[in-house]
């Protein structure tokens, strides 16, 4: 007994002892795979495994339904204790909201209080948000980017440009979508929309354009270098502009911001909101378009 234990201990500390039984049996299976007679056995084993898998998948479904129901009950129970919907006396209807709507126009110069809120009062969040997009672009690039020398595989170059219906519809729609996107982008401080909405509409428009006319033609107009330059310039501009406004926002620095809200309602108003909207819009648009291009062809062009 003692000997057995000590030998077990020795095995363990030398790293030869394995605690997982399946681990030990696996290599044998690989070596005997050539022999005809044992193939059947493996098949039987596989059938058993499949049955097990079916059982576990049923178990998963069962568990997931129960889990879903419990989670839903708990969360809906929480809703029971929440403030009333569409009531004007909820905790969220507080002085912050009144300030944003009541004073926002005069302080930021933006008629659309949502734009004024996300690009002036809470601009730090939006800065982080556009960097989330940048991070995701980099991550997708590093996952799917292929080297430039490698030719694009033929089976990955499918287009819709042979389909007359898609093509015609898209040819009519694309300019409208792009003009709408630009309108939404540039009027972000006056009407619904702004950087995120306008940018994603623009990006969707460019994706449609690339789909209808083929990526080769699209790449001639929207070059990868341009995408990179626009992304880098917009993000740097965002960083610098916001650094300026954060720096001047604190009195002890002794510098006051020279940016004025302007006349609310004019197209050139709202201080930094219009340029920031444009920068955010460009970032979002480039991100959406480059997601499409990378997924389609493995590179930006």
């Amino acid at each position: 007994m003692k000997n057995k234990f000590s030998s077990l201990l020795k095995e363990w500390y030398e790293g030869n002892l394995s605690f997982d039984d399946r681990m030990n049996s696996e290599p044998e299976k690989v070596t005997t795979i050539k022999e005809e007679s044992e193939k059947k056995e493996i098949r039987i084993v596989k059938d058993v495994e499949n049955a097990e898998q079916k059982l576990t998948s049923k178990g998963y479904k069962f568990f997931s339904v129960i889990f879903c129901v419990i989670l839903a009950v708990v969360l809906i129970g929480t809703v029971n204790f929440m403030p009333l919907f569409a009531d004007n006396n909820t905790p969220t209807t507080n002085e912050v909201y009144e300030h944003y709507v009541g004073e926002g126009r005069d302080q930021t110069g933006a008629v659309n209080t949502v734009a004024g809120m996300i690009l002036d009062y809470r601009a730090f969040d939006t800065l982080g948000e556009s960097f989330v997009l940048f991070t995701a672009t980099c991550a997708v690039l590093l996952l799917l980017e292929q080297s430039k020398n490698k030719p694009i595989k033929k089976r990955e170059t499918f287009t819709f440009s042979n389909d007359p219906i898609v093509c015609t519809v898209v040819k009519i729609l694309t300019p409208i979508i792009i003009v709408f996107g630009i309108y939404v982008l540039f009027n972000g401080h006056l009407s619904p929309g702004g950087g995120f909405s306008g940018g994603s509409v623009l990006g969707a428009g460019f994706i449609l354009f690339a789909m209808a006319y083929g990526e080769d033609n699209a790449a001639k107009i929207i070059k990868p270098s341009i995408i990179r330059v626009i992304t880098i310039c917009s993000l740097s501009f965002y960083c610098l502009a916001k650094s300026y406004s954060f720096f001047t926002g604190n009195e002890f620095n002794g510098i006051h911001s020279i940016i004025t809200p302007g006349t609310p309602g004019n197209i050139v108003s709202g201080g930094l909101i219009l340029p920031l909207n444009i920068a955010v819009g460009f970032v979002v648009c480039c991100t959406m378009y480059s997601f499409y291009m990378i997924f389609k062809r493995g590179r930006l062009d």
Partner: protein, 502 residues
């Protein structure tokens, strides 16, 4: 000297900006930018820490914009924030510099640039998580941190790392969606997003008894989300995969910095948003306590079972994170300071262990199992020395950093009824298990070889950066272990600030 109050925001924006710059640069310059960024922001955090130590209040709030708290956005810096950011920067710099050779081997040549970008973005997210005074900003930077850290893992050449990255990503996504729904519940019952206003509203709600149930649910969701992301016991399954397959620098950063940043954010939310009394009242601490103790035991047992040295270190991470949650769960100030010190000790030690383990396995051609790693100490003496230092520190031998938190835990355990016994027994069992598996590796790497393998000798001249960094890390570890008192006093003051100043 008021200029120093700008430095936290400069740190955040500078690291975001340098990520953009790196995107336009070539590899070598990008690497230079990363190192430069880490050094400068380390200096800035140290300056902020010194400024706060010498100022009267020890605390300042910086407006991010032109408007005051409930309207605008702000960041704040007390003592703990710059101290932990400094720790994170030091650890990141050391593991990046020490693992630079491995980065060259493990990451494709054309993708080195992305490694630098991701390091910069991770640093930006860490700085923002440390300094933020707004809960939604915290969420946004959690997302950046998730993507950037996952990318650090994905950059490793082997496809195995992609599987690990998928698993890590899914766990992180579960965690962040829980955090998001918790934040939104908090917003809808308080109407605020900034920490001071949230705190006062929550105190009011808790005393009047209004919205108690949603508040408890929101607190539970936030705590469980951050616990999943930092790898608390029932959710630690992503850890061995993640830490074991990434390149050593990345595993150092992931284990030593990122999970600790989530823990720090959790601590900040507990103290500055929920409030200490409400947290103790809500009984969530007992759940943390139980899961922390389970994590200590289960992590150690898994570490004993495995035959792969990197998986073993990763499982030991799960155990060490159990210590931290046990401290948070006990809820006394002494235990929380012990948990904070455990964060420091662990994030100083784990990257060192990962680096030196990879140094050891390099001598046998990159194999990680115990049978082949046997007797590798004779071929790489420096890595063996630092591995021994790290292992001893993890076990909790005096003069090393890992000893102090165990001492603090056991002194703070007394006087809590059944919790005292649980905690002391758990500490004892976990220490014995720690000794078992770390001693096993130590004996293994020094004993004579049994298997014939192609061996490569790594000397100081072969790998200057690695050796110097690894030695520096051991020295820092011993220094922290010997001079723990100043750090503890800073933590005590910082914790007082966390509790008192709004």
């Amino acid at each position: 000297m008021d200029f120093i109050m700008n430095l936290p925001f400069v740190t955040i924006v500078l690291s975001l900006f340098s990520a953009v710059i790196c995107f336009a640069m070539k590899d070598k310059k990008a690497r230079f930018v990363s190192y430069f960024l880490l050094i400068t922001s380390g200096i800035m955090s140290a300056l902020v820490l010194l400024y706060n130590l010498n100022s009267e209040t020890g605390y300042f709030v910086y407006r991010m914009g032109h408007y005051d708290a409930p309207i605008g956005n702000e960041i704040s810096a007390g003592l703990l924030e710059p101290a932990f950011l400094l720790l994170f920067e030091v650890v990141m710099f050391l593991s990046l510099a020490g693992g630079s050779q491995h980065i060259m081997q493990d990451v494709k040549a054309e993708k080195h640039k992305y490694f630098c970008i991701m390091v910069n973005l991770t640093h930006a997210a860490l700085a923002a998580l440390c300094y933020t005074n707004d809960i939604f900003t915290g969420y946004v930077f959690i997302e950046i941190c998730t993507i950037a850290s996952c990318s650090l893992l994905m950059l490793t050449k082997r496809t195995r790392a992609l599987v690990a990255a998928t698993r890590y990503m899914i766990f992180s996504l579960i965690g962040s969606s829980l955090v998001l729904v918790g934040i939104i519940l908090l917003y809808s019952i308080t109407g605020h997003l900034l920490f001071p206003q949230l705190f006062s509203t929550i105190q009011g709600l808790w005393t009047t008894g209004e919205y108690t149930f949603p508040l408890t649910i929101a607190l539970g969701l936030i705590v469980s989300g951050l616990a999943i992301k930092s790898g608390m016991f029932p959710f630690h399954f992503w850890m061995p995969d993640t830490y074991g397959t990434a390149t050593p620098a990345a595993s150092g950063i992931l284990s030593g910095v990122i999970s600790k940043a989530y823990i720090f954010l959790l601590l900040k939310i507990i103290f500055r948003v929920i409030g200490y009394e409400v947290f103790l009242d809500s009984k969530i601490q007992y759940v943390l306590f139980i899961f922390g103790i389970c994590g200590m035991i289960v992590g150690s047992v898994s570490a004993i079972k495995t035959n792969n040295i990197r998986f073993m270190i990763a499982y030991s991470s799960a155990a060490q994170i159990g210590y931290i949650y046990m401290g948070l769960g006990l809820g006394t100030k002494g235990a929380i300071i012990a948990a904070l010190f455990q964060v420091v000790a662990h994030s100083l030690t784990k990257p060192m262990l990962f680096l030196s383990a990879s140094g050891l396995s390099d001598t046998v051609g990159g194999r990680h199992d115990f049978a082949s790693i046997r007797s590798s100490a004779h071929n790489n003496k420096i890595a063996a020395i630092s591995y021994s230092a790290g292992a001893l520190s993890m076990v909790g031998i005096p003069i090393f950093a890992g000893f102090i938190p165990k001492l603090l835990f056991s002194t703070s355990a007394f006087g809590h009824g059944i919790q005292t016994y649980l905690m002391l027994i758990a500490l004892a069992i976990s220490t014995i298990l720690n000794v078992l598996y770390f001693l096993r590796t130590l004996i293994n790497i020094y004993s004579p070889a049994k298997v014939e393998l192609e061996r490569k000798t790594i000397t100081f001249k072969n790998s200057v950066a690695f050796s110097v960094i690894v030695l520096i890390m051991s020295a820092v570890n011993i220094a922290v272990g010997l001079h723990s008192q100043p750090i503890i006093s800073v933590f005590e003051k910082g914790l007082e600030l966390f509790i008192n100043i709004r």
